[in-house]
């Protein structure tokens, strides 16, 4: 499978604050890749490195085979980039902005853009600055689709969008990706929408990668176990490879793990927690996300 984006040993600091160390991931051609994580885990930093707006302290990033720090105009024309907040030139209107971008992209396709615009209740002369956040997101999406890029990079596409617009946005992307074999890279902190959308995902914690696998595999292997206990309110538990994350409440506890129940029970017993009635509990993607990243 051809690799479209490859991050190799990315390490970055802001001043002395470590963002992450040795981040590695690959995005396969034709896949939809999600970079997930809570706020402040370095999603936008990674996007900036990917687009050459930031030089990592060490490591590098390849975009369509080119060092992301020095992207050629040709490569840029093959990458569609949605800036966090659906930012566009707010002093233009729907027609003007299409006229502007058209001149830069050899594969420009007007149809998808105007198709999307026609679904919105806005006049052609309305300036982008006077649009709602949802409308703006459609303009930004339409422009990226018209650009006909091989790779779409969407930085927090969900920001400021209500459920309807988020769904609309994803439907378009899904259709686009499936029908034309394009590659999509999304970051988001709203997880529930992505359940049936992502192929692969990386979940970032503070300073580390928590999960790097196909979404399907993550959903199948990452589990939640609930149990009761009589122990003191003080938790005897310690995080480990098996006990990835836990919650210790008065009479019951929750453990998140990639391990099977037997292994989890063993780990709990070894810690002296004396659990009763350990059972697997089904999770939504969002539950699983919180299970991996923790509530705080």
């Amino acid at each position: 499978m051809e690799t479209v984006v490859e991050a190799i040993d990315l390490t970055h600091y802001y001043g002395k604050k470590l963002v992450y160390e040795n981040l590695n991931f690959k995005i396969k051609k034709g896949s939809i890749f999600g970079l997930l994580g809570k706020n402040g885990t370095g999603k936008t930093t990674t996007i900036n490195i990917l687009n050459g707006y930031l030089r990592p302290k060490s490591g590098r990033c390849l975009m369509l085979g080119e060092d992301s720090y020095n992207l050629s105009p040709d490569t840029k024309s093959r990458v569609g980039f949605l800036i966090e907040g659906h930012i566009q030139y707010q002093f233009m209107n729907v027609v003007q902005i299409e006229k502007f971008y058209r001149r830069f992209y050899p594969r420009w396709k007007r149809a998808p853009y105007f198709e999307l615009m026609s679904k919105m209740a806005i006049s052609e002369s309305q300036q982008i600055s006077k649009m709602s956040c949802g409308q703006r997101s459609q303009v930004a999406l339409g422009l990226i689709l018209a650009q006909d890029p091989d790779l779409l990079i969407l930085d927090d596409y969900s920001m400021g969008l209500d459920a309807g617009y988020r769904r609309l946005f994803l439907d378009y992307l899904d259709e686009y990706a499936r029908s034309e074999g394009k590659t999509i890279f999304v970051t988001s902190h709203i997880i529930q929408d992505l359940e049936d959308f992502l192929d692969d995902c990386v979940i970032m914690g503070y300073n580390e990668v928590l999960v790097d696998m196909p979404l399907k595999e993550f959903r199948e292997t990452f589990k939640r176990y609930d149990f009761e206990h009589d122990a003191s309110p003080e938790t005897p538990l310690k995080k480990s490879d098996v006990l990835l994350n836990y919650e210790w409440l008065k009479t019951r506890g929750v453990v998140y793990s990639f391990a099977e129940r037997a292994a989890v029970e063993k780990a709990l017993a070894e810690s002296g927690a004396k659990p009763r009635n350990v059972r697997e509990v089904p999770m939504s993607l969002e539950d699983a996300f919180i299970g991996v990243t923790g509530k705080y």
Partner: protein, 226 residues
């Protein structure tokens, strides 16, 4: 690319351009009207006496207008680019980054140049209508650094705006201020006519060189060098 970028700058700055143009036109026209009025009420030879021997600069009202125009234009041109990192969109366009920056800045400089040219034509016509050509020569040498200051203010403000580190931004702004301030130097209250008679070319050279500052800031912006 050139047309597209010009189109974008035009959509962004047309009202700024109209406003700046109007201010310039008003002040330049004011210079004409003031002098025409003076020539009606004061004898021409006395006015000329004051122009030649007392540094009566009938066009002094225009002095800070070009610098102010350059400053305002740069602010209006680059504020939308820098708010919400919109410049990232521009620099993601499939064209060499320096070419994009150069073109953007060149468009601004040309638009300012057009306004300054109108100013100068009005001053020139006013001068030649009332005074011998020697006064025109002196006026040209005297106003030249004021117009240079307009371009300097524009280039430096643009560079300071695009720069992402506050330390560097302050250094660029202070240096730019010193440069613009130096272009108003002169021995007398009105800056003295012809103060740059022997150094106008050096001033032009230094001001032209400030065109390059945006490439430094732009690079820092593009690569996130804080």
């Amino acid at each position: 690319m050139l047309f597209a970028l010009w189109y974008k700058e035009w959509l962004k700055t047309k009202w700024t351009l109209v406003a700046i143009g109007a201010i310039n036109l008003l002040v330049a026209a004011g210079v004409y009207l003031d002098l025409a009025n003076t020539m009606k009420t004061v004898e021409a030879n006395v006015v000329l006496m004051n122009v030649v021997f007392k540094e009566y600069l009938y066009y002094v009202d225009i002095k800070y207008i070009p610098a102010l125009s350059g400053l305002i234009y740069a602010v209006m041109q680059f504020t939308p680019e820098l708010s919400q990192s919109r410049l990232k969109l521009t620099l993601h366009l499939p064209a060499p980054e320096q070419k994009i920056l150069a073109t953007t800045q060149l468009i601004g400089a040309l638009e300012l140049a057009a306004i300054f040219a109108i100013d100068y034509l009005i001053l020139a016509a006013t001068t030649l209508a009332f005074f011998p050509v020697e006064v025109f020569d002196s006026m040209t040498v005297t106003v030249a650094p004021w117009f240079f200051a307009g371009f300097a203010a524009y280039f430096v403000t643009a560079a300071a705006f695009v720069e992402i580190s506050w330390t560097r931004r302050v250094v660029i702004a202070l240096t730019g201020y010193a440069l613009v301030d130096a272009l108003f130097l002169g021995v007398s209250f009105n800056a003295g006519n012809d103060a740059f008679a022997h150094a106008w070319w050096a001033a032009a050279l230094v001001v032209s060189a400030t065109f390059l500052l945006l490439f430094v800031s732009g690079f820092h912006y593009k690569r996130g060098i804080v």
